[in-house]
Every structure is written in structure tokens, then in C-alpha cells.
């Protein structure tokens, strides 16, 4: 099941140009969440945003998703303004919380975006069945979310984000609430799914191995104000070739330590370890 990226190939999937986002508090106190951030994501590319809490990585994702508007700068998705891209459903999104509607079955949840955008019943059914199989939940199509484990719920959320075959996936720590083992399995599956759908992905995480394992490029961010410190090309091979073995690979460990050094950056406070989940 290979989907074409509908973006026409030319325009970058995401183009962030000189974006700042300042949150203004009650008493005039303002917090600069993002300061002059620029980033380009090519079609089909997997880019991770990593950094400590408060570095603005989630803010950046929300700006791309047009859940928030930048104070300055421009954001284009497939050459369109972010708002237009949202209205045109050019991206699929998954959050840290699966966010399934408890009164809908697994199939019903996956069908939700299709239903909202007027897809016919038969087409919805077929697409949902396809996606349920893709995420390996065929036995659970008619179950309700409260009957599923956290990992299974997250898989449903990912299937839902893929429902309209978007050429861009936005993921905000989708595996953040999962245990280590489930997490690694989900990462393997995500690599497989991305290989099959050839969608571009912007992936927010605070786990270094996760970012390295999944990404073509890792964007390392620093907090207060949120800035891009460095961008590291990982390039551990084609998504199709990535598998469990990669985690034991020399190049993998090398990239992990590179990202870690970048994260600690100019302030080598060795005691403050970064989580190495």
C-alpha cells in the first residue's frame, strides 16, 4: 500500500522562516518561546525536534499545525500558508495523549476525520480497515478505547492521523507516555509505516535514541529563548533497511553521543544528565 505524496514534489513540506513566538503574560511579562527559528523539511523527510523542556519544540509544531500563530515570521506548508494547509487537510497529527473519543470504536475513531470531510460510508469503512491492518489491530476494530492498552490506543491515533493519506505527519511526543518496550516496538512500526506512506514527518521528542533511530535529520533546540542550536544529519540508511539491528549499530551510538554533546552544548554541566530513554 504505497501512497503518492500529493504535494507535487517541488515545494518543501514545511518551510519555517524567521519565526518568533512571544507569549504575553498577565502583567505584561512576556516569554519568548521561539526566537528567529528557520527550518525546511523536504517532502518525505523525517525530521525530529529535540531539546529540553521549554525549548519551544512543541510550540514550533503547533505553529506548523496552525494551532497557534507566530508573532513574527512565516510558515508555509507545501508552499501554502499554514492556515490554508490546515483547511486543506495537508497534514495528519498525533499528540502525546492518544486523544481518542471514548464513545467511538477503534474503527469509528479512525473514520472520524473522513466523516468530517464528507467521505462516503463505504470508502470510510474500507480505508479504516486498511489502516487498522497497517497498525496491526485487526482483532480490535470494534473495541472501544477503554478496552485498549496505552500502546494500542496510540497506534489507533497514528492510524487516525494517516486516515486522509497526508503527505505530512506532525507528531508531538506520540510515544512519550509509553513504557520502554512498547516505545521501541512503536518506533519500529513508525519507521515501517513511514516507509510505506512516504510522508514527511516532523517529530517532537525528548528522547535522544528515539530521535536518532527515526530521523533523517535531528534538530537540536535550546531553551530560553527557544532557538535551533544545530541540525544533525543522521542518515542511518533508508527507512526500509532500518530495523532492530540498527539499535546495536556503531553508527547509531555515534549519532546518539553526537546529539547528546549538542544538547549539552556550551554549558558542559556533566551532572545534569539527559534522559537516555
Amino acid at each position: 500500500m504505497i501512497m503518492e505524496s500529493a504535494a507535487g514534489g517541488r515545494a518543501p513540506a514545511v518551510e519555517v522562516g524567521g519565526v518568533s513566538r512571544v507569549f504575553t503574560g498577565r502583567k505584561g511579562a512576556s516569554v519568548t518561546a521561539l526566537d528567529d527559528v528557520s527550518l525546511t523539511v523536504a517532502p518525505g523527510e523525517f525530521v525530529s525536534l529535540i531539546g529540553p523542556s521549554g525549548c519551544g519544540k512543541s510550540t514550533l509544531l503547533r505553529l506548523i499545525a496552525d494551532l497557534d500563530t507566530p508573532t513574527a515570521g512565516s510558515i508555509r506548508v507545501f508552499g501554502k500558508p499554514a492556515r490554508q494547509a490546515r483547511i486543506d487537510q495537508d497534514y495528519g497529527i498525533a499528540f502525546q495523549q492518544a486523544g481518542l473519543l471514548p464513545w467511538r470504536t477503534v474503527a469509528g475513531n479512525i473514520e472520524l476525520p473522513l466523516e468530517l470531510h464528507g467521505a462516503g460510508k463505504a470508502a470510510r469503512r474500507a480505508r479504516a480497515a486498511e489502516l487498522i491492518e497497517l497498525v496491526g489491530l485487526s482483532d480490535f476494530a470494534e473495541n472501544y478505547p477503554d478496552q485498549l492498552s496505552g500502546g494500542m490506543q496510540q497506534r489507533v491515533a497514528i492510524a487516525r492521523s494517516l486516515a486522509e493519506s497526508p503527505s505530512l505527519l506532525l507528531m508531538d511526543e506520540p510515544f512519550g507516555a509509553l513504557d520502554e518496550m512498547t516505545r521501541e516496538r512503536m518506533q519500529n512500526e513508525l519507521v515501517r509505516i513511514c516507509g510505506e506512506t512516504s510522508a514527511a514527518v516532523v517529530f517532537v521528542t525528548h528522547s535522544i535514541p528515539e530521535a536518532v533511530f527515526l530521523s533523517d535529520r535531528v534538530v537540536v533546540m535550546s531553551p530560553r529563548p527557544g532557538r535551533i542550536r544545530d541540525v544533525l544529519g543522521v542518515g542511518l540508511g533508508d527507512t526500509a533497511e532500518r530495523g532492530e539491528n540498527l539499535r546495536e549499530d556503531e553508527a547509531f551510538f555515534h549519532a546518539v553521543s553526537q546529539v547528546r554533546e549538542l544538547l549539552h552544548g556550551q554549558a558542559p554541566t556533566g551532572a545534569r544528565g539527559v534522559e537516555t530513554r
Binding site: 483547511i87 487537510q89 499528540f95 495523549q97 471514548p102 464513545w103 480490535f140 485498549l148 492498552s149 496505552g150
Partner: protein, 314 residues
């Protein structure tokens, strides 16, 4: 969403329905038995106190704490029961008491239902308005709360007087409409507050998701906010049903509408001196009306079961 994030082993998902149903059935049986037991205990307490309590009641420092146990103040339960089967008055054509009370109950139930419907509609509309416009919430909500502090007794004559001035074509305002209006005045309050809470209950997560789907306010309302509010709405509807019944009974008395339970309660209270069993009949009638109203809302809940999955089974 924290509840749904809990890990449930996949195997349990499949075996749960049958075992869960059996357990639920048992729990339901136990609930019914407990309820019945409560009634029996109440009846036993009544008779026990009547048997053992002092004839003049328990009086401490001039204040009566517990009632007198005379047959006049506390008739035996079977006296009440027997009285229900006898005719209302000594007149030859008199109907049996239970039939009169039943007719009164139906009359009251009908008015309460109208009041409930009007109250629920108004309450829902107010909640929608407050959910849609933040300004409306801060402007309207305090008045809604304040409205409930106005005593019904003060309201009833006003409503009747205003109502009597309404006459449009063939339509003329009748007393029972005033009663229904007062009932709705009590009923709308829990609905508006409960529905507002329910409509604002979806997580930021879900609201964001609908925004991502470019869903407008109405779509979000229909697909997300209304289904999410069911768990808050049902208790509010039940409360509104009870309020509507109470409002109807009280308003019947204040407005002086004949034919309902409220009137019977006042009328028969006067007969208590010679006929102590009689005043209890309409009281039980009003309890039955309240239970029926609450049961009806329970029935609505049964149809909306799907939207209550998140709730922990009681």
C-alpha cells in the same frame, strides 16, 4: 484522557464482557435489594418509634425534637394503606381515595413534564450561549445562580398576574401554564449549569484535534461537545425532573390550581384531625410522581449508554 491511558492487557479485553455482565447483574440485584431494605428499615423505624416512643414526643427544653406518637400525629402504616382503598368522603358517589390521588398525580406529572421540557430547552440554550461566547458566560451565569434565590411563593402571584394579561387571538394564558412556567424556572437551573460544564469538558487535546480537522463550531458541538456532555447532562436532567415535580406541587398551592397533588395535599391536611390516614395519600402520590420522573430520565440514560463509556460503573 488519563483514565483511558491506563494499561489494560489485550487478553482481558476479550474475556471481560461476559464476566463483567455477570458481575454487573449481581451488582444491580444487590442495589435493588439494598434499596428495598432501606424502605423496610424506614417502615420498621416508624412503627418501632410509635410503639416505644413517649406519647408526648421527645421534648428538650421546650423544643420538640421527636413527634408525638399518638394515632393522630403518627398513624400506623396499615391505617394509611387501608385509607387509600376507602372512598374519599362519605358521599355516596365518592371515588376511592387511591383513584383521586392517581388522577391528581397524573395531572401534576403532565404539568411537571411540560415544565421539565421547557426548562431543559431553556437550560440547554443558555448553556450553548455561554459556551459559545465567553462574555455571555460572565454576564449570564451569575444571574442564573441568583435566579434560584427568589422564593417560589413570591414568584407565583407575579407569574399569574402577568400571564392573565396575555391573550393573543384564540390563545389565552391558563393557570396550569403558570404552574408549568414556575416548574421550568426550577428545572432550567441544573440543566444550564450541568450542560455548561459538560460542553466545556472535552480536553484541549480533543478541541485541538477538531481544529486541525478544520471543523467549525457546530461540527465540534455535534461530534465532540454534545457527546462529551452526556455524562454531566444526565444527572442534571434527573435533578431537573425532581425540581420540576417539586416546583409543580408548590406552584399548584401558591397559584391555587385545582386538580393536582399540591391541592390535594393542602385539602387533606385539613382533614387530618378526624382522618389521620388521609393526608398521607397525596404525599405518597407526589413521591410516586417524583420516582416516575426520575425513572424516565434513567430511561434516556439507557439510550445514551454509548456516550457514558468513560464513566466508572456505579
Amino acid at each position: 484522557m488519563t483514565r483511558t491511558a491506563e494499561l489494560a492487557p489485550p487478553a482481558a479485553g476479550k474475556t471481560r464482557p461476559t464476566r463483567g455482565q455477570a458481575r454487573r447483574g449481581q451488582a444491580q440485584l444487590r442495589r435493588i435489594l439494598t434499596g428495598a431494605l432501606g424502605l423496610i428499615v424506614l417502615a420498621a423505624l416508624w412503627e418501632l418509634y410509635k410503639l416505644l416512643g413517649p406519647a408526648d414526643g421527645v421534648v428538650v427544653g421546650g423544643t420538640t425534637l421527636l413527634p408525638r406518637t399518638s394515632d393522630l400525629a403518627m398513624p400506623h402504616l396499615w391505617v394509611m394503606a387501608e385509607r387509600v382503598l376507602e372512598p374519599v368522603t362519605g358521599a355516596a358517589a365518592a371515588l376511592p381515595l387511591w383513584l383521586v390521588v392517581l388522577q391528581g398525580s397524573m395531572f401534576t406529572l403532565g404539568i411537571a413534564a411540560v415544565g421539565w421540557l421547557v426548562g431543559v430547552t431553556v437550560g440547554l440554550l443558555l448553556a450553548l450561549l455561554m459556551q459559545r461566547f465567553r462574555l455571555a458566560e460572565s454576564a449570564v451565569l451569575p444571574w442564573i445562580v441568583l435566579s434560584q434565590t427568589v422564593p417560589l411563593i413570591a414568584l407565583a402571584p407575579l407569574v399569574r398576574r402577568w400571564g392573565s394579561q396575555i391573550e393573543v387571538g384564540n390563545f389565552s394564558w391558563e393557570s396550569w401554564m403558570s404552574v408549568a412556567l414556575i416548574a421550568s424556572y426550577l428545572a432550567f437551573f441544573p440543566v444550564s449549569v450541568g450542560a455548561l460544564r459538560g460542553l466545556s469538558s472535552p480536553d484541549a487535546n480533543h478541541v485541538d484535534l477538531m481544529h486541525c480537522y478544520a471543523a467549525g463550531w457546530w461540527t465540534t458541538l455535534w461530534r465532540l461537545r454534545l457527546p462529551a456532555s452526556v455524562g454531566y447532562l444526565l444527572p442534571a436532567l434527573r435533578l431537573a425532573a425532581a425540581s420540576a415535580v417539586i416546583g409543580t406541587v408548590v406552584a399548584e398551592v401558591s397559584i391555587g390550581l385545582r386538580g393536582g397533588i399540591g391541592r390535594l395535599i393542602v385539602e387533606y391536611a385539613g382533614a387530618a384531625g378526624g382522618d389521620p390516614g388521609k393526608p398521607w395519600a397525596p404525599i405518597f402520590g407526589s413521591i410516586a410522581v417524583g420516582l416516575l420522573a426520575a425513572g424516565f430520565v434513567g430511561l434516556i440514560g439507557l439510550f445514551l449508554r454509548r456516550f457514558r463509556r468513560g464513566e466508572v460503573a456505579a
